[in-house]
């Protein structure tokens, strides 16, 4: 386990370096002069040139790249051109909001998707199974921007039950906070929910056909124990993989959902930064998101071991016999 962790942490370095390089050059290729965008259409050419000079945009590219890498090693993501604040502060301000949204979407997806998938597997080829499979197919293929708009139309515009945008502060009480959270987390949960249901259904079906399930029944165990103890733990591995991927996507900033619902998270921060050619913020946020991705992947790998004792993390061939 220790060996595994050390190895994995060392592997992070080249991964993050490559991300840093790609992000740097892509932001430099964005059309439009950041200084011109920042100062607005009324600014004179001299002002733009002076501002460019101040931002260091006139330095040779390799010089800019070198400075950027040196700063990164000190976890200095630079100063936002737009907000004139350190990018790290901006991220720390926005990221908790994204966590709130992502975690509630994940919980919603697990609470609904997993039991639905198990039920479908238990009742394979029945009406219930067809409903779950159809709904989950619709769920994975539904465009989130459309679903988000429809939710707003129904619950905010027509019924007037829930606010359409923004985030409530927990200081105002639990209900105002939850009211703002319901629609965005529902929209964000749809795809993972459907994905979880599909994955757990197929992996449960595979598990239920195993001999140890027949053996468990032959021991006189209750059907609930057979399903939720013997089958579910074996069926969890593929679900964990998908869960990790989905969760890191959610944390990486649900760009569409946050934009539709004006949720002040990472996604909205990145979108606004791109709009304003605030490449420093884009660079910093994307690298931060990349770090989140790899960390969650690492956690998922450790969880595999918890679910399946046959997995030996220190053995490159997977262990077991």
């Amino acid at each position: 386990m220790k060996k595994f962790l050390i190895k994995r942490i060392f592997q992070l370095i080249p991964t993050l370096f490559i991300v840093a390089v790609i992000v740097f050059f892509i932001t430099r290729m964005l059309p439009g002069d950041p200084a011109a965008v920042m100062l607005g259409p009324q600014a004179s050419a001299e002002d733009v040139a002076a501002y460019s000079e101040r931002l260091g945009l006139n330095d040779p590219l390799h010089q800019q790249f070198f400075d950027y890498l040196v700063n990164l090693t000190r976890f200095d993501f630079g100063n936002s051109l737009n907000y004139n604040q350190p990018v790290a502060d901006l991220i720390m301000e926005r990221f908790p909001n994204t966590i709130i949204l992502a975690v509630s979407a994940l919980i919603l997806a697990i609470l609904i998707g997993v039991p639905a998938g198990i039920l479908a597997a238990k009742k394979q080829n029945t009406f219930i199974d067809y409903i779950v499979t159809t709904l989950s197919l619709v769920g994975v293929s539904m465009p989130i921007f459309w679903l988000g708009v429809m939710l707003v139309l129904l619950f905010s515009v027509n019924l007037g039950w829930l606010p359409s945008t923004g985030m409530g502060s927990i200081n105002e009480g639990l209900w105002p906070f939850l009211r703002h959270l319901i629609l965005p987390s529902l929209a964000l949960a749809t795809i993972p929910m459907a994905e979880f249901a599909r994955v757990i259904r197929s992996s449960m079906l595979e598990t239920l056909s195993n001999d140890y399930i027949k053996a468990a029944r032959s021991k006189g165990l209750k059907e609930t124990i057979v399903i939720y103890k013997h089958a579910l733990k074996n069926a969890l591995t593929p679900l964990l993989t998908v869960m990790g991927l989905q969760f890191s996507k959610l944390l990486g900033g649900a760009v569409l959902t946050e934009t539709i619902f004006s949720w002040p998270g990472m996604g909205l921060l990145i979108v606004n930064a791109i709009d304003r050619r605030d490449f420093v913020v884009v660079q910093g946020s994307v690298i931060f998101v990349a770090i989140i991705y790899v960390v969650i992947n690492l956690i998922v790998d450790i969880l595999y071991k918890v679910v399946n004792p046959k997995i030996n993390l220190d053995d490159p061939h997977g262990g077991g016999n």
Binding site: S218, I225, K310
Partner: protein
């Protein structure tokens, strides 16, 4: 003799896939007495496993369906019990062990966990008490250092040791009947003998009855008192092991015996085999199911299905030409002249 412990009466099991109905078991009847060991032999698809798994209703339903018949255990028809009632019998009064111990143990739980849950499913005992019992069971089946091994996972055991664990689980609640579905097929030859000896020893010690399903005649000679030979979902011959070995009556049994490797086997001679393959059970079988492969088939064999009739006490056969007044002679090795398929 007193009432048998277990009685299978005219059991019919069907598998339905789409519009096709496969009649896997076709009127099987037999009795199992206290402390008796019955072997069921037959080739793949003869219905022996389906018969055995039907006793505890462990066949997947759908597609399988017990279409007809009754299974009496201590006078009660198991097929009429509720799910809850049958669950109280499974693993408690009738247990099962399966072919492949490496897939019958759940890989993600320790063997102790799987033993203890069986004990606690049927007996109201504390966890601590159940663990003590589990350790003594592992000891009983010959697992060294059971107090340490109990916390290990199945993949940390060898194949033979895993089958011993399966036996320990099956014996957890002192069952009256143990159904062993090809318990040695997946094991090494040397380990096979150890497992068979263990089963025989435990059967005597715990005074239980065993139904041993196998396609390996060698296994039944060593462990069983009585034998049923199954073919195409029916019992074609039933006799004591001694009778069956010395005086087999059904041409199919002859074929089975001749295809065994014997000590006198000349290595240059091809091993005898039964030509052809079993009939497709998704069609209604008219006449004797073995007719297409039987070298002695006559007109009547195509017309009429032979019933299982006793020729001598305790020896029954389903063949038109094996009545007491009219018997075919078994020609040693003349069975499959030159046929090496």
């Amino acid at each position: 003799m007193s009432e048998p412990l277990l009685k299978i009466d005219n059991l019919h099991v069907e598998f339905k896939t789409g519009s096709i109905i496969t009649r896997a078991v076709n009127g099987v009847t037999f009795e199992l007495n206290k402390q008796e060991n019955i072997g069921i032999v037959g080739e793949s698809g003869s219905g022996k496993s389906v018969t055995a798994t039907s006793i505890l209703q462990l066949i997947p339903s759908p597609p399988a369906k017990i279409a007809n018949g009754a299974i009496y255990f201590k006078g009660k028809n198991l097929l009429e019990l509720s799910t809850k009632e049958i669950r109280k019998i499974r693993g408690n009064e009738i247990s099962m062990i399966f072919q492949d111990p490496s897939t019958s143990l759940n890989p993600v739980f320790t063997v102790g966990n799987q033993l203890i849950e069986t004990i606690r499913a049927h007996k109201k005992v504390s966890k601590k008490h159940a663990k003590q019992k589990a350790i003594s069971l592992l000891d009983l089946v010959g697992i060294p250092a059971p107090d340490k091994r109990i916390d290990m996972y199945p993949h940390e055991f060898s194949g033979g040791m895993r089958q011993r664990v399966m036996i320990a689980i099956a014996l957890a609640c002192d069952p009256k009947v143990l159904i062993a579905d090809e318990p040695t097929t997946a094991l090494d030859v040397t380990v096979q003998a150890q497992i068979l000896n263990l089963m025989k020893e435990l059967q005597e010690k715990l005074a239980m009855s065993i139904i041993m399903i196998t396609h390996d005649l060698g296994v039944v000679w060593e462990t069983c008192d009585k034998l049923l030979v199954m073919y195409a979902g029916r019992v074609v011959e039933s006799a004591s092991v001694k009778d069956l070995y010395q005086q087999p009556l059904h041409p199919y049994t002859w074929g089975l015996l001749d295809s065994q490797i014997s000590e006198e086997q000349n290595s240059s001679e091809p091993l005898a085999s039964i030509p052809g393959s079993p009939p497709d059970l998704s069609y209604e079988i008219k006449g004797c199911p073995f007719v297409e492969r039987c070298p002695y088939a006559q007109e009547i064999c195509y017309q009429k299905t032979p019933q299982l009739n006793e020729t001598t006490p305790g020896h029954a056969v389903a063949c038109h030409f094996q009545t007491s007044e009219h018997q075919l002679e078994r020609k040693e090795r003349g069975y499959s002249d030159g046929d090496t398929t």
